[in-house]
Amino acid sequence: MLTTIWIVVTITFFLLRVAPGGPFDSERAVSAAVEENLLAAYDLDDPLIHQYGSYIWGLVQGDLGPSYKQKDFSVAELLFHGLPISLLIGGIALTIAVTVGLFLGATMARYRNQKVDAALEGFVTCGLALPPLVAAPLLVFLFSLILRWLPAGGLESPLHLILPVISLCIPYIAAFARLSRSSCLEALNQPFATTAQAKGVSNWRLLWHHVVPSALVPVLSFVGPAAATLLAGSMVVEVFFSIPGIGHYFVQGALDRDYTLVLGAVLVYTTSILVLNFLIDLVFLRIDPRIQLH
């Protein structure tokens, strides 16, 4: 895990530095002497390998460096402020996506090739075509402008969380629903399902006590990849609803060429994905005793 983080950080570090231009380029050019002083103040005039060395050394001590553009703040402060917000929104969205998706998928499998299945299938296909970038404006129109039920931006109360979370989780509900449908169908065709049916287990019990638990592993193993793509959505949602999460700082850093901020955000993102994958592995151990960690 540490190796992966190290590789990602190293690649990002050098990719960012290869490009010409820097954080102090602006439309109003500063004089050469000022720029020199600025670069010296942040040690940006050292050889690249020295900068890399001191960055990694700082990283080990938990220091992510200063932000070049958001003066008076260190990258760690900014990200520490944004992380809980982003984790909250992403976490709720992911949880809703898995549970609702699983429920829809199981229902579709139960009524396979009937009207219910076909209708839900239609919804799922539409859901897949509604990434947060599209869902967010549509929801704002409906709930903030026409119905005036929910606020369209900011983060002052739990109410402000509803629209961002919903617009973030729509395509993932669809993806999880489709995945659970096929893996429930697979489980339904296995001998144990037939046995349960033969001994008179009710349809409801068959589905939720026999089929769904055994269909859980493929569904949960999609959580990791889903979380990785959810990042993109969370950036859109944070920018669109003006929520000060990590995505907001990352985008700002990328626009300003604020190297340390971009690097810090990449680091936090990668770490959270890896931690999430690790947690899912632990859950696997609980739900399927046949799985062993090496």
Binding site: P131, L133, L145, R178, L185, V262
Partner: protein
């Protein structure tokens, strides 16, 4: 499991309608900017932020540019970048997958581990880092998107190449003493081309999403040129004052994505013959 292409949403008649509508959208995008009365970047001082009317069908934005012309132009740019990015990913993924699948052994192992490694890093991070590195430029944008979306193509092609490797005509080509690169170029690649192209077409909606997403964040297409993502970002800033600035670009993108997704879904089912698919 029978493929349920005959019921509900995927009845052939709906598919025909979807196809027709998509062609209509494409025609609109191609001729739209031409038939629009206004230029997409012309500023009309006398009409700043006016709602939709007979003169400006979709209204105008805050500096008085005609939104109908801008939406059409944005749709055109988004589609153009999507097609180009898909082509880039196709050009990287096809040879990568074909070589990896055909040669097999250690080469295959190394090449596929590289692909796995890239899968592990969230692709948005790579795209944004690439955009920061290469600068904000339309031409580099599709290269950046293409450079991260070739992974899927290469996996599909590799799978096909593995099957082809065992085919009699490849064995006879080898028996005739053809050099390996020639077998890959003349025998493997032409045979995987069909399914690779179908798969690449399926990728277009997700590439449109990536492009709009990056432009939305301000990292992609730059003013005065526009794309659907840029328009949605601008509209989002003014939703209370002028709803039309957000409504029309969003509506256009929604319709485009819905049509392409439904059609792609149908196509996928016809090709795989079943409903197996992830994501």
């Amino acid at each position: 499991m029978t493929p349920n292409t005959q019921i509900g949403f995927f009845k052939p008649v709906y598919v025909k309608v979807t196809c027709g509508l998509l062609i209509l959208v494409l025609i609109v995008v191609v001729v739209g900017p031409q038939i629009a009365t206004w230029e997409y970047d012309a500023i009309h001082w006398e009409a700043i932020g006016v709602p939709p009317s007979g003169e400006h069908w979709f209204g105008t934005d805050n500096i008085g540019r005609d939104l109908f012309a801008r939406t059409m132009m944005g749709g055109r740019i988004s589609l153009l970048i999507a097609v180009l990015a898909t082509t880039v990913s196709f050009c990287i993924g096809l040879p990568w997958g074909a070589v990896s699948g055909y040669l097999g052994g250690t080469t295959d192992q190394v090449m596929m581990r590289i692909v796995d490694g890239m899968y592990a890093i969230p692709y948005v991070l790579i795209v944004i880092v690439l955009v920061v590195m290469l600068g904000r430029n339309i031409y580099l944008l599709f290269v950046a998107i293409g450079a991260v979306s070739w992974l899927d193509v290469s996996r599909i092609v590799r799978g096909q190449a593995l099957v082809l490797k065992a085919a009699p005509f490849v064995a006879s080509a080898r028996a005739m003493g053809l050099p390996e690169y020639r077998i890959v170029v003349r025998h493997v690649v032409p045979n995987v081309l069909g399914s690779a192209i179908v798969f690449a077409t399926l990728m277009i909606p997700s590439v449109i999403i990536s492009e709009s997403f990056i432009s939305f964040l301000g990292l992609g297409v730059q003013e005065p040129m526009t794309s659907l993502g840029v328009l949605i970002a601008d509209g989002g800033k003014n939703i209370y004052a002028s709803w039309w600035q957000l409504a029309f670009p969003t509506g256009f993108l929604t319709i485009l994505l819905l049509l392409m997704t439904i059609l792609g879904e149908r196509l996928r089912r016809m090709v795989t013959g079943a409903e197996r698919s992830l994501t």
